[in-house]
């Protein structure tokens, strides 16, 4: 709304372009186009993914052209910076005028210069002014009143602060963009993977960099629970202890319930299970029954010589059924077959081949992964969100309306009222109100 060229003589070509709505629309179109690329093309994948998917030439082009990380590429950062400049220029350009308008409330002189919208005549004798005042305050709100020689003027202005509304919205947008920038430059964003029972003193930023914490954190316990066995997950819960200068703070971190310590916020992000020793399996083949120990990701020969198994991975609470191990069974020839063995529910799941497996013990430990973050830009972004509200309210729900009713006594003793008013942007509502107002003012006039 700020982006129009209001002034009559443009200061310079650059300033004129920067404050133009054309630039805004042009930039919005480009940004929308870039954003569409970002949603259609998978982002932040390794380069070979693109080559295998789009071919050598196109994959390379997409990678080198920055389209695979489009939101941090010049294709996006360029237009968005220009948009910020565009918005800023419009605010600088128009805000002083808007403030000036707000600081000049409607005067009698200005009210008298409003265009005329209708006339009402009251008969001589009874002073209609009490009726007029009551009608106006009922239909419009509290009016100011001025007595001039020979006439009384009732006038009021609605939506006086409306002109600053659009600027509040655009300042809010600038705050949000500034917040994003501040977060990018002064924020910290990393990952912390920590085994149950372990103590960590550093976290991972990017793919290689380790950043030390100025405190220590221990994962006391991780739990995952399900609504029912085989159902959907109910809760991921990490019990953490923060340690600094001999002080210990115990907290619980869940999804949607991050915890903050020492200026960093920890978000429950993911988890996993690791085997802490070889898996003990009972293997049955006909009458043969034997216990074996199978280390993770290593082939173990099965008694009876009919094949090998490799424990692929373990899960501490497989779909809510308790500990489980994923086995790959390879008979002497043919493809290996992969299936889960549940320790507490051995009857569940299909087991191929001649063997029956039962898990006797699955030694495991959980690890939990946290998003670790400090973002000083968030406060700016939230300030922007909050500023949006009064901005949108003023800009769209407080239309400017100016009204004046000039009441004068005619030489014949009658009373004559002239209704004046204007509303630059809400003609339909204004016309409806005008009609109603004239009708109400005429009410009670004996015809």
């Amino acid at each position: 709304m700020s982006a129009t060229r209001i002034h009559s003589q443009p200061k310079s070509w650059l300033w004129g372009t920067l404050t133009s709505i054309r630039l805004t629309v042009f930039l919005l179109l480009i940004l929308a186009g870039v954003a569409i690329i970002g949603t259609v093309l998978p982002q932040n994948q390794p380069p070979n993914q693109y080559v295998s998917r789009y071919g050598e030439v196109w994959g390379q082009l997409l990678w080198l052209g920055g389209f695979t990380q489009v939101y941090s590429s010049p294709w996006f950062l360029g237009p968005i910076s220009l948009l910020a400049a565009n918005i800023l220029a419009c605010v600088v350009h128009g805000l002083p005028q808007a403030i000036k308008r707000v600081r000049q409330p409607l005067t009698v002189e200005a009210a008298l210069a409003l265009p005329e919208r209708g006339q009402v005549t009251w008969p001589a004798g009874v002073d209609p002014q009490p009726l007029i005042a009551a009608t106006l305050s009922r239909e419009l709100g509290r009016c100011r009143q001025a007595t001039l020689p020979g006439q009384t003027v009732y006038f009021l202005e609605k939506g006086r602060f409306r002109p600053v509304g659009p600027y509040l919205i655009h300042i809010a947008l600038l705050l949000i963009l500034a917040g994003g920038l501040i977060g990018k430059f002064w924020g910290v964003d990393g990952k912390l993977a920590i085994d149950q029972g372990e103590v960590a003193g550093a976290f991972q930023v990017g793919s290689r960099v380790e950043k030390p914490l100025n405190f220590q954190v221990r994962l006391d316990k991780f739990q995952v629970s399900y609504y029912e066995p085989g159902g959907s997950p109910k809760e991921f819960r990490s019990d953490l202890t923060f340690m600094q200068d001999g002080r210990e703070v115990r907290v619980t971190c869940r999804v949607n319930e991050p915890v903050t310590f020492g200026g960093l916020t920890f978000y429950q992000s993911s988890y996993g299970t690791q085997a802490t020793g070889p898996i003990r399996l009972k293997v049955q083949l006909g009458d043969l029954s034997e216990s074996i120990e199978a280390p993770l990701r290593q082939p173990t020969d099965l008694p009876g010589g009919r094949g090998q198994i490799i424990p692929m991975k373990v899960d501490g609470n497989f779909q809510g059924y308790g500990p489980a191990v994923l086995l790959a069974f390879s008979p002497g020839s043919g493809h290996p077959q992969v299936f889960w063995i549940l320790k507490d529910r051995p009857e569940l799941g299909d087991q191929p081949g001649p063997y029956r497996f039962t898990a006797e013990s699955i030694p495991f430990g959980y690890y939990s992964v946290f998003q670790v973050k400090h973002d000083p830009g968030v406060a700016w972004v939230y300030a922007g969100f909050l500023l949006f509200l009064p901005g949108l309210y003023l800009a769209f729900f407080r239309p400017v309306e100016r009204w004046a009713l000039v009441v004068a006594k005619t030489p014949k003793g009658k009373w004559q009222g002239r209704l004046l008013g204007a509303s630059p942007r809400h003609r339909e509502e204004f016309a409806a109100r005008q009609e109603r107002l004239l009708m109400e003012l005429k009410r009670g006039i004996p015809s």
Binding site: A32, K234, E257
Partner: protein, 286 residues
């Protein structure tokens, strides 16, 4: 039980649409009144069904995590609002259309526009009943948040307002091509496009902002360029362009109507396209 009621509501909306159409064709004030009463009746039943599902979903959750203190119960009620999957979002979207129409734009909700709103609500309910899994499922951890209620309500009120703007824009374009005395005058339609768009824009802004605040507490990122986020931003851009064109460039009529149509296409893609064609953080909707 609740799905049967919703099936009934679907038929009632359909009936309201037919009554509105008949009222228009025979210019009968009585049929118009009847259409409106029917729509109100449907909305009342629909509201009851929504509350019923809310109640059922709260009791299901109470079984999983018993709450004794009233504060815990209140918390559970808030997060168990039936807006947590695709089916429930369709039901709520269908509710928003007649609700917005009857509460905020009562004066205009008659004739072809009334029929359009009732028909769309009926179609959404039909799709929800026949094409989508309607089971109440317990909440996944990411959705357990007080922000769920306000985020989804504002987003769908926004979608509904944009749908009204779209319907009005279609009527405008028809009326302009071949004027009919039975349709509202062009100036009125034009003003209605603007007012519904403003409401939708406010709601979409709130929806995006509450979503960002929620994302910050859930994932530690207020903005992740998730496809749903990105498409809602594209939608926001289009409606922002519409408002700028109208308020600054004085665009009216046909061009604004086409922009409202374009914006609605983006809304449709944000709602359906992203859920079905692109994967991302909002994929639990399907």
């Amino acid at each position: 039980m609740i799905s049967q009621i919703l099936g009934g509501v679907m038929l009632i909306y359909l009936l309201a649409a037919i009554l509105f159409l008949m009222a228009e064709l025979w210019s009968s004030a009585r049929l118009k009144g009847l259409g409106r009463v029917t729509l109100w009746l449907g909305l009342g039943l629909h509201t009851g069904a929504l509350l019923g599902r809310w109640w059922a979903s709260y009791h299901l959750a109470l079984g999983h995590s018993p709450a004794a203190a009233w504060a815990d119960k209140l918390q559970l009620i808030i997060i168990q609002v039936p807006l947590s999957n695709f089916y429930e979002s369709l039901i709520f979207f269908a509710w928003c259309l007649p609700a917005l129409g009857l509460l905020s734009f009562r004066r205009y909700l008659q004739g072809y526009l009334g029929a359009l709103v009732a028909l769309l609500a009926s179609l959404l309910l039909a799709y929800a009943s026949f094409g989508v899994d309607s089971h109440i499922k317990p909440l996944m951890p990411a959705l357990k948040s007080n922000w769920l209620l306000i985020h989804v309500v504002t987003a769908f009120l926004g979608y509904a307002a944009f749908t009204l703007a779209f319907g009005t824009a279609i009527l405008y374009l028809l009326q302009e091509r071949r004027p009919r005395p039975s349709l509202p005058p062009l100036a009125q339609l034009d003003s209605l496009i603007y007012r519904t768009t403003v409401l939708g824009f406010l709601m979409l802004t709130l929806g995006i902002a509450t979503g960002a605040v929620w994302a910050e507490t859930a994932w530690g990122r207020y903005w992740s360029w998730d496809p749903k986020e990105t498409w809602s931003l594209i939608t926001w851009f289009i409606y922002a362009a519409l408002l700028h064109a109208r308020l600054l460039k004085g665009w009216h009529g046909r061009r604004i109507a086409w922009l409202a149509v374009l914006g609605f296409m983006a809304v449709l893609f944000t709602y359906f396209g992203v859920s079905f064609l692109l994967s991302g953080l909002h994929s639990y909707l399907t």
